[in-house]
Amino acid sequence: MMQPELRTPTVGIDSVEHAARLLPLWETAPGWKGFFTTVDHKQIGIRYIVTAFVFLALGGVEALLMRVQLAGPNLSVLTPEQYNQLFSTHGMTMIFLYASPILSGFSNYLWPLLLGSRDMAFPRLNALGYWIYLASGLFLYAGFVTGNGPNDGWFNYVPYATRDFNPGLNEDFYALGMVFLGISVTVGAANFIVTAFRTRAPGMSLNRVPILVWGTLTASVANLIVVPAVSLAFFLLWMDRQFGTHFFDPAGGGQPMLWQHLFWIFGHPWVYAIVLPAMGMVSDGLPVFCRRPLVGYSLVALSTVATMIFGFGVWVHHMFATGLPGLGLAFFSAASIAIVLPSAVVVFAWIATIRLGRPVITTAFLFFASMILLFVIGGVSGFMTASVPVDLQLTDTYFVVAHLHYVLIGINVFPVVGAAYFWFPKMTGRLLDEKLGRWNFWTMFIGFNLAFLPMHLTGLLGMPRRVYTYADYGGWGTLNMITSVGSFVFAVGVLLFFVNVIRSLKRGALAGKNPWDAPTLEWSTPSPPPPYNFAVIPTVASRHPLWEGRLGGDGALSSLDRGMMLDHGKETVGTSALDAVPDMVLEMPADSIAPFMLALGLSGLFVGLLLKSWTSVGIGGAIAALAILVWLWPSTELREREPAHG
């Protein structure tokens, strides 16, 4: 039995000797060894961000190919099968491999810095989440590049996805890839939840965390609840396809509708999971450029949670046309209309923040502020689809395509690029170029609206979605040409962003600790932050530790320079869930190869399942089991066992 060691951490201030003690404890080894073993949330966060942007670029190129095919009526640049794989892969890429991981990346990088902690609660799990994301992304794309990409949309309805109608490996790649990716999402969500509740700096009670934390926390809770539904659905599909089960086959007593319920019970909360953290970025970033605190912090935080609660009750609005009883539809219609209200709270909070503040125009500000308008446009078109009879006309036309792009580009891409302008200096120590930033912003903004605003009209004129070509009914051709031109302009805008990032990495102006004079803890660390983030653990007394004394009133002051030293080992502090009272010293694991090995083993296992190569399944499974053994082997450093005696 392990004896608890009671000790009160020393409190002190940072010094050269103190930093010299911390650095070797936290530093990642240089070279390949460090690359495969690091558990530093900052490195993992940046990997997520870079990987997600690569997928954004891939998905964008897929979109441009489709826009060439659709630029005019009756074109044949792409075959129907190529088009179908492109639009399915585009959806899969943007929704699963870009929109969610990019937010995980920012949150992974930022959370411990925002929370005044030295790492995420489970650093190795964090590394595992990234490696599995990368592996499952490569797995899914291996299907696409070999001509076996998903070809039934990201929503993947049965029976078209079953083997009778879809005999290739396309759907097996997609089904197994999604089950694989689900592991990454699940471990990431669990990690965020525990991190939010257990590793906040002393004094950072739950009503003092940045809204980004509320957003990602809410999304993570939702993901833990709904991801099992979609993983199950894809698993059952794979069983139907490969082992002759009949979960979805009506001839064997199965139900095509089962797929739709399982998918959308997951799918709609997922939409909120990929916008709420991005809305959090705006809620935290915008006030900095308005030189005042966010209007209605508590209401915004509550709205974040309320949106998700409503979000669990709206999935059937994807299924209004499936013949469900009208009374049932009315409830989902009500929930879908009511969900506008929490969004309205947030929108008015943002507008009031600008109105009652003193706005300073920066590129980040432009992305955040313009997002408000794009959010509203995407919101009201969503409100239109919430009305059952109206939706029965709107659904599956280009109106919905316009709607969902306002939501996903407007509420995800715009805030994310804004967040990149905002936090890039923290991550790299250099500012992105503001002048190029303006070109970047205006090209994206104009291109996006040129592409997608007229698309509402295309939809109202009846053009159906997911068609590889179309006849020129009353101007569809012109509208589609405008959209195609706009999409290329938008793509140039995104390219300018990448150019700015690459140029500024070397040549950007030096940022210093806090280039925007922002209020939260991450800006109290050097840019980029040292591996241990905080030399001493700060104690927090307000929502705006770095603005204290400037907001009037005489509240208690946070202590940033003096705090727990925690330099006996790789340590950070654990605090209570609501009030963040320190209650334990957390021993953090050292860098480890186990997460990479586990991801590698699972990759072998999934490839084996795909090819029905049971040898590969066995070897992959054995590697995975070995990795878990290494991972869980009790270590003295983590105080999981007594040091050996004598």
Partner: protein
Amino acid sequence: MTGWPLNYLSSAGLRAREVVPLTWYMLVVSIVVCLVIAALLWAAVRRARPEDRSVNIRDIPIERGSSGIRWISVGLLASAAPLAVAFVWTLLTLSATAGPPSQPGLVLDVTGRQWWWQVQYSASNPSEVFQTANEIHIPVGVPVLVRLHGGDVIHSFWVPQLTGKTDTIPGQTNLSWIQADRPGRYLGQCTEFCGFQHARMQFEVVAESQEDFDRWVSLQRQAAAAPATQEQTRGLSLVEYRCGLCHKVRGTNAGAISAPDLTHLMSRRTLAAGTLVNDPANLMGWIQDPQYIKPGSLMPNQYLSAQQLSDAVAYLETLK
């Protein structure tokens, strides 16, 4: 059919007409909301004075300012009112469009198939039952109940001028209904993704007077006429031997049912579910090379000789 045959901001039938005012209401509310928000945002942002743009952000002091909660409460109330109206109106419209106002005068069975529509007109006398494809004739002013079946994968039945969408799902029967206000041809389109040729899966609803409709029905009930010329006779045996593996021509040995019924092929306006106008030249092209015209279509290329092709078309042209 000119203009925007698939638009749903206008209507030509009772069920669609009930929805149009609600659609306009929601559209106008949405546009007004966007304009108001854009104006508020613009007014708020333009307060950034030009001299602030070059200034160091640190030089602008942080101020707590007023709480701004009034903005949220006013905004919330202003949003709630149109939402409440939308919801009540939605329920009323939902109820008004749920079923036809009176007993349906006609019941049809429509089956979505990759990538065409099978239409069956039932009758109490089995010899009067007939099937057609991609063209639905209905009498004007009569409520028509449409029973929707999934033939293979999920499709969706949509005639925007007459009704919103209802999916055709294997293993269940869904109901839709239509009632045309005036004679005309109304375009329908599959709107659930269903594979290669989802794009080319259209149909037409032909609304006509009761007399015209009755005439059409009695014509459709007849079996195919016997061939009159040598060419047509050769054509018939070719059709029975080649086309009859999938298609049916009532009154001949072509009796399969996995593709459109051809008994009155030439009475239909289009070929291949709205892909081509039905004329002899297009028919020849379609028979010879459907995979070029509609790639992935379940109809294989036929590779007929010139003689065979002209024989086949000569016979098919008699199927009026």
